[in-house]
C-alpha cells in the first residue's frame, strides 16, 4: 500500500463534526439514520447537505428517536448495507438497548459519538459519562483526540468492524464542543484512496429470500453463553485487526495510530493517563514538568475496547506512579472506569501505584497546571504509599 503523499492529501479547515461527516462521505456509506442532538447535529446536517447536493448516494432516514436511529441502522445492516449514525449523551442512553443488540447480532454498523454530560441536571457540554457508560455492550470503541483523528477513525472504523473475523459494531468519540465545534486543519485522503481501501460492504450473512436465515432467535441457557463467548472471541480478534488497520492506515496516510499514544514515557517516573482532547493538554503539562525536572510522560488512550492490555503493561512497567484522569464520575465505585480498566490490566503483574482524578464534568475546563499538579500528587502519593481515593479536580466544595 503506497503512502499518499502529503501533497496529494487535501488540507481542509473542518470542525470535528465536519471531519466525521467528510470521512463518512468518503467511506461509501449506504445508509444513514439521522436524529438531532447537540453537539453531534452538525454531522447529520452535513451529511444531509451532501445528499441534497448529490455528493453521496445513500439512503438518509430522518428517524423519530435515537432508539429508532439504531434500530433502522441494524435493519439496513441486516439487509446488507453499510450503515452509519451519530449521537450524543441522552441519545446514546435512549439507544442503549439497541447497542447490545447490534453487537449480539454481529452487525458492523458504525457510530460517531460526541461525548457530552448526562442529565440531570441537563448539560450540553463535554464529559465522557455517555460514551464510557456503554463500554460493556460489545462494541469496538475508539476515542479521538482531535478532528484529524476523528476523520481517520471514521474510515478505519468500517475496516475494523466489517473484517470477517470481527463483525462487530464500532463506536468512536470526540469531545463535545472542544472538538465537535472547533475548526482545525485536517488532512484528507483522496476519495479514490478511501473507496479503494474500503470497497463496498460484503456481508457474510444477510436477509436474502434465496437463502432464508433466522436472525435474532431465542437462545436460553444451553446456547446463549456460547453466543457471548463468540462475541468475546470476536473482540479479541478486533484487537489484532485494529492494530493491523492502524499499520495499513499509517502506510496509506503517513499518520501513526496505536492503541496507546505514549509521549515521553520511556524514562518517566510518573505518567498522566488521559483520553480524548485532554491528551493534548496533558502533553503540554508534561513538557512543563520536564522543565521543572519532573520526569513525566503521557499515555493517551485511543482504543477503549478491546482494552489494550499488553500496551498498558509494557508502558506502565517502567513507571512509579500514574495519574489517571477520568471525565466521568463512576458514582459509588472505588474508582472511575479508566482506573478500573487499568488496574485490571496491570494486576497482579505490576507494582505501579495509580491515583484517580475526576475532572471536567459538564464541560468544566481543565488546564495544564491542573494536570501537572495531578502528576506531582500521584508521584508524592506513590512515594508515601498512600491509598487511592477518587479526587475531584477543580470542584467547588
Amino acid at each position: 500500500m503506497a503512502t499518499v503523499q502529503e501533497a496529494r492529501q487535501k488540507m481542509m479547515e473542518l470542525t470535528g463534526d465536519q471531519a466525521i461527516a467528510y470521512g463518512a462521505k468518503q467511506a461509501g456509506i449506504d445508509f444513514i439514520a439521522a436524529y438531532p442532538i447537540t453537539p453531534q447535529t452538525i454531522i447529520v446536517e452535513k451529511l444531509s447537505e451532501y445528499l441534497a447536493d448529490g455528493v453521496i448516494d445513500a439512503k438518509y432516514i430522518n428517524v423519530e428517536s435515537e432508539h429508532s436511529a439504531m434500530s433502522v441502522v441494524i435493519g439496513a445492516s441486516l439487509a446488507g448495507a453499510r450503515g452509519f449514525t451519530a449521537t450524543s449523551s441522552q441519545g446514546l442512553m435512549l439507544m442503549f438497548e439497541e447497542l447490545a443488540v447490534a453487537s449480539g447480532m454481529r452487525q458492523p454498523v458504525v457510530m460517531a459519538v460526541a461525548m457530552r454530560a448526562l442529565s440531570a441536571p441537563i448539560n450540553i457540554h463535554c464529559d465522557h459519562s455517555d460514551f464510557l457508560s456503554t463500554r460493556d455492550q460489545g462494541w469496538v470503541m475508539m476515542m479521538a483526540e482531535n478532528a484529524q483523528e476523528a476523520y481517520d477513525q471514521t474510515i478505519m472504523a468500517f475496516k475494523i468492524g466489517e473484517d470477517p473475523s470481527v463483525q462487530l459494531p464500532v463506536m468512536y468519540s470526540i469531545d463535545a464542543f472542544i472538538i465537535t465545534h472547533n475548526m482545525e486543519n485536517v488532512y484528507t485522503l483522496p476519495d479514490e484512496t478511501v473507496s479503494g481501501y474500503l470497497g463496498v460492504r460484503k456481508p457474510i450473512h444477510r436477509l436474502d429470500p434465496d437463502n432464508p436465515m433466522t436472525f435474532g432467535p431465542l437462545a436460553l441457557y444451553d446456547s446463549y453463553f456460547e453466543f457471548r463467548r463468540q462475541q468475546h472471541d470476536a473482540m479479541m480478534n478486533a484487537y489484532r485487526v485494529t492494530k493491523d488497520v492502524f499499520v495499513d492506515y499509517e502506510r496509506m496516510s503517513g499518520r501513526k495510530y496505536s492503541p496507546l499514544k505514549n509521549y515521553m514515557t520511556d524514562d518517566a517516573d510518573v505518567l498522566v493517563f488521559a483520553a480524548a482532547s485532554t491528551v493534548g493538554t496533558a502533553r503540554q503539562a508534561v513538557r512543563k514538568l520536564r522543565e521543572e525536572g519532573v520526569k513525566a510522560g503521557v499515555s493517551g488512550l485511543t482504543m477503549l475496547r478491546p482494552f489494550p492490555v499488553p500496551e498498558v503493561i509494557e508502558t506502565f512497567s517502567k513507571v512509579k506512579a500514574v495519574a489517571v484522569l477520568e471525565r466521568m464520575a463512576s458514582l459509588g465505585s472505588p474508582a472511575g472506569p479508566h482506573y478500573m480498566d487499568l488496574a485490571s490490566a496491570v494486576y497482579p503483574q505490576l507494582d505501579v501505584r495509580m491515583y484517580d482524578f475526576v475532572y471536567g464534568l459538564g464541560g468544566r475546563d481543565i488546564d495544564s497546571q491542573m494536570i501537572a499538579r495531578c502528576a506531582k500528587t500521584a508521584l508524592s502519593d506513590a512515594e508515601h504509599k498512600r491509598p487511592n481515593e477518587v479526587r475531584f479536580l477543580g470542584v467547588r466544595e
Partner: protein
C-alpha cells in the same frame, strides 16, 4: 423498487404449496397468532422478509438452534419492528438497484403490546416516513408472552394478571385504544382490520396491502387460548363470534375511504361472545350486569361511528 400488484385470490388452492411458517414451533395449541403468521407469509408468491417484534410469535418459533421460518426473518427488540423494517426496506431499495441484494416484500409482525403500547412511536415514525412495508398487529389483547398482563388493547372488563377481577375492581376499567384510527390518521394508503375466522378476507388484505406504494397496516384479531381461558378447539369460533357481535368490526380504509367489509345484519348480543371466555366470567355476576350493558352500548356506538365514517366518503 418494483411495484407489486397482487390480485385478490379466489380460493385457498391458489396459495403457494410450500409452508413458510413450518410445523414444530412451540406456539400453544389453538394459537391465533400462529395462524396469522402462517397465512400472512403464504399470501403472496414472493417470499417476504419478516421482521418480528419480541412476543409470542417470535419466542415460540425460533428456539435456537431451531427455526420455523422458511423465509428470511429477523427479531431485534420489542418496540422497534417498524423501525427495523424501515431500515430493511430502504436498504433493499438501494442495494437491489445496485445488484447487491434481491428485493422482497417486507412484513413486520407485532403483538398488541408491541404495537398499541411500546412500539407505537416507532410505528408512527415509520408510517410518517412512508416506507413501503406492511405492518401486521396480531392482537391477542394482552401481554400473553409474559403471562397475560393488561395492554392498551385489552378490552374493558377483561381480567388479566395486572387487571384482575377483584372484590372491588372488576377487571380492566379502560376501553381499548382505537389503533386503526391512530394509524389511519397518518394518511397511509391502506389500513384494515381482519379476523382469522375469515381467512380469505385476511389473505386478500395482505395482498392488497403489499401492492401499495407506501406503508400499510392490518390489525388482526387473534384469540389467545392461554390468556383468555377458552378451549383450544374454539379459536376460530371466537374469531367469528367477535365479528358476529360487532365488537370487532372488519373494515378497510383505502386511500382515505372507509369500507365495512362485513355488515353483520343480525348482530348477536355481546354476551354470546363474552360468555365463551373465563377472563369475562366475573361480568356475569349480578352486581356486574351493568358492565355488560356498558360493553353493549360501547359496541353499538362504535358501530354507528363506523357507519357514519363509511357514509362520509373520503375521510382522510
Amino acid at each position: 423498487m418494483t411495484k407489486r400488484d397482487y390480485k385478490p385470490l379466489a380460493k385457498l388452492a391458489d396459495l403457494p404449496e410450500e409452508n413458510r411458517l413450518v410445523s414444530g414451533h412451540r406456539m400453544c395449541a389453538g394459537c391465533g397468532p400462529a395462524i396469522i403468521g402462517r397465512l400472512a407469509t403464504l399470501a403472496v408468491p414472493d417470499k417476504p422478509i419478516v421482521i418480528n417484534a419480541t412476543g409470542c410469535l417470535e419466542v415460540g418459533t425460533t428456539f435456537y438452534p431451531y427455526t420455523s421460518w422458511a423465509v428470511p426473518w429477523a427479531h431485534v427488540t420489542f418496540e422497534n419492528a417498524a423501525a427495523v423494517a424501515s431500515g430493511v426496506v430502504e436498504a433493499l431499495d438501494k442495494l437491489s438497484k445496485e445488484g447487491r441484494a434481491k428485493d422482497a416484500p417486507v412484513i413486520a409482525f407485532g403483538g398488541d403490546g408491541g404495537t398499541f403500547d411500546i412500539g407505537l412511536q416507532a410505528l408512527s415514525g415509520a408510517l410518517e416516513r412512508g416506507h413501503r412495508f406492511l405492518y401486521i398487529c396480531y392482537d391477542n389483547e394482552a401481554y400473553a408472552n409474559t403471562g397475560v398482563q393488561r395492554s392498551g388493547a385489552t378490552p374493558f372488563g377483561a381480567a388479566t394478571t395486572t387487571s384482575p377481577a377483584g372484590k372491588v375492581i372488576p377487571g380492566k376499567q379502560e376501553w381499548k385504544k382505537d389503533l386503526v384510527g391512530i394509524v389511519a390518521a397518518h394518511h397511509i394508503p391502506y389500513a384494515a382490520t381482519s379476523s382469522i375466522a375469515y381467512y380469505r378476507d385476511f389473505i386478500n388484505k395482505v395482498r392488497k396491502a403489499l401492492s401499495q406504494d407506501g406503508p400499510s397496516f392490518i390489525h388482526v384479531f387473534a384469540p389467545c387460548t392461554f390468556g383468555w381461558r377458552f378451549d383450544t378447539s374454539q379459536t376460530i369460533q371466537l374469531a367469528k363470534l367477535i365479528v358476529d357481535t360487532r365488537i370487532f368490526p372488519v373494515f378497510e380504509i383505502e386511500n382515505g375511504t372507509l369500507k365495512i367489509n362485513f355488515k353483520v345484519p343480525n348482530p348477536k348480543p355481546v354476551e354470546e361472545y363474552l360468555k365463551t371466555q373465563r377472563r369475562f366470567a366475573h361480568l356475569f355476576k349480578p352486581e356486574n350486569k351493568h358492565l355488560i350493558e356498558l360493553i353493549q352500548k360501547n359496541t353499538n356506538e362504535n358501530w354507528e361511528r363506523l357507519l357514519r365514517m363509511e357514509a362520509a366518503g373520503k375521510i382522510f
